[in-house]
């Protein structure tokens, strides 16, 4: 369970998060919607301790991120898989090395040859062929990089997956494929996911619940149907465009 408690974060005078309260239940996929620049990714980065909150806290499986020791934080991070917006693959390493680096320490010490099979399995899980293992990230298309990023995120067999704009910059076919992948991984691995997106189609496709982050706070939270039925003008304006897709 991941709980954001009155989370506040400002960069200089720019208040990005102004008291976010949000509970992500075990096993669910929560889509976090919001206009660009409202702090969705900032919120996600607090969950994994990449950013420090000015006030408030994030609690993951009972561990407070703001007061966690280095070892506790490391443990939390091993339970969380983070899919970065632009994949954030290590561009000086091959796909195989990227995947091996994400595995546990025991596999890592065996080197690339030692974790080859695990890397192949990870690629298969994200529907990619094994022949990309020796390629550099720069040799992959945007969609393929995203998939390798997903494979890397699930390498440590996380309980939680944090998706940062997983479909941004992808063509509709690849975006659909990523949506499918989110659903598939949720079903097969039973992971709890937070999907940060401003893509309404993705939010309504994958989200068991949808939260709308607006002006630093959670403006609305509910199932896709509840969000469609919400009469708040801000929510209505935001979700109206997706009503056809949801139908």
């Amino acid at each position: 369970m991941i709980e954001f408690k009155n989370l506040k974060k400002a960069f200089g005078d720019n208040v990005v998060l102004d008291g976010v309260d949000l509970l992500v239940n075990e096993g669910e996929t929560l889509a976090l919607l919001g206009p660009s620049g409202t702090g969705k990714s900032v919120l996600l980065k607090h969950a994994i301790g990449l950013l420090e909150a000015d006030e408030g806290d994030v609690v993951v499986d009972g561990i407070s991120i703001s007061s966690a020791t280095v070892e506790e934080l490391k443990g939390v991070r091993r339970r969380l898989g983070y899919v970065f917006q632009n994949a954030a693959l290590f561009d000086s390493l091959t796909v195989a090395e990227n995947l091996c680096l994400a595995q546990d320490d025991e596999n890592l010490t065996r080197g690339v040859s030692g974790c080859h099979q695990e890397a192949v399995d990870l690629l298969r899980r994200v529907n990619m062929p094994a022949d990309v293992l020796d390629k550099m990230p720069s040799e992959l298309s945007g969609g393929m990089r995203k998939r390798v990023g997903v494979a890397r995120a699930i390498a440590s067999q996380p309980r939680y997956l944090l998706w940062d704009e997983p479909t941004t910059g992808l063509d509709p076919v690849n975006a659909d494929n990523i949506d499918e992948l989110i659903l598939e991984l949720g079903r097969e691995l039973g992971v709890t996911s937070i999907v940060v997106t401003h893509d309404l189609d993705t939010a309504f496709e994958v989200g068991d619940r949808i939260a709308l982050l607006y002006e630093g706070r959670i403006r609305a939270l509910g199932t896709p149907q509840e969000m469609l039925a919400n009469t708040d003008p801000i929510v209505m304006r935001f979700v109206r465009r997706s009503s056809i897709a949801a139908a």
Binding site: I48, L50, R78, F84, F90
Partner: protein, 252 residues
């Protein structure tokens, strides 16, 4: 307190923390040795031709200028003393450091800044990996490994070049003069000092490059700005260290 002073103090504090973080990883070579050796190969072997060229030119200039300035005023064997003293205590380590700063320091800063702005550093954290042990320690250790041998080779090349060019360019200068002058000046401590200086410079270059690189922000422009900052900060640091180390030469 002005914002600039506060920012400077913050940098000093953060650099000290990074130094402490590096020191904590050092007792566990299994975490970084393979990567450090690979970095050392890249830094050392690939920089060697340029280091030797610079050392050759530095030695060649020294013997010619000493000859031009001292001929008629002082015995010619002084050229041998000045050549050995200049190359061992100053030119060898400093020219090596300048080459390494331009070739290695700038590359490290740009690489790490680029990793920072493309969230690769965040990705390491997210995987529960420590960027200090994965990225910084191997580079700093590599710097410490390659600088002393590079400086020794630069010293040897600089002296040989100064010797050869001196014989060609300074009227009346003989190899016997050079050898006498060098033996008259030489103390083993000079050679140790040269290597020590190289080690300190190597540490400074890789440490500053890593620290500044990890502070990178923004996009491509930010990477460029970070690289410039690293080169400027390292240049300044090298000269300050050069001054601070001068008394050490006299100490033995």
């Amino acid at each position: 307190m002005s914002a600039k002073v506060r920012a400077w103090l913050e940098n000093v504090g953060n650099a000290a923390l990074m130094g402490w973080a590096i020191a904590r990883v050092l007792p566990y070579p299994r975490q970084y040795l393979a990567s450090a050796l690979s970095q050392a190969y890249n830094m050392g072997i690939r920089s060697l031709p340029l280091v030797l060229i610079m050392a050759f030119l530095g030695g060649a200039v020294t013997s010619q200028q000493t000859g031009a300035q001292f001929t008629g005023g002082l015995p010619l064997w002084v050229i041998g003393s000045v050549l050995a003293a200049s190359v061992l205590t100053e030119l060898g380590p400093l020219l090596t450091a300048i080459v390494m700063m331009a070739r290695v320091g700038a590359a490290i800063a740009a690489e790490l800044a680029s990793m920072k702005v493309t969230e690769q550093i965040d990705a390491l954290y997210a995987m529960g990996r420590d960027p200090i042990s994965f990225l910084v320690v191997p580079r700093v250790v590599a710097g410490l490994l390659v600088f002393p041998p590079l400086v020794i080779l630069a010293d040897f090349t600089g002296i040989a070049a100064g010797w050869g060019v001196g014989l060609l360019a300074v009227d009346g200068l003989t190899s016997a003069d050079i050898i006498f002058g060098m033996r008259f000046y030489f103390r083993p401590w000079s050679l140790f000092f040269s290597v020590l200086k190289g080690g300190v410079f190597g540490l400074a270059i890789t440490f500053i490059a890593c620290y500044v690189g990890l502070q990178g922000t923004g996009g491509a422009e930010g990477v460029g700005r970070t690289t410039t900052t690293a080169v400027v900060a390292t240049t300044l640091a090298l000269m300050v260290l050069d001054v601070l180390m001068a008394p050490v030469l006299k100490a033995f």
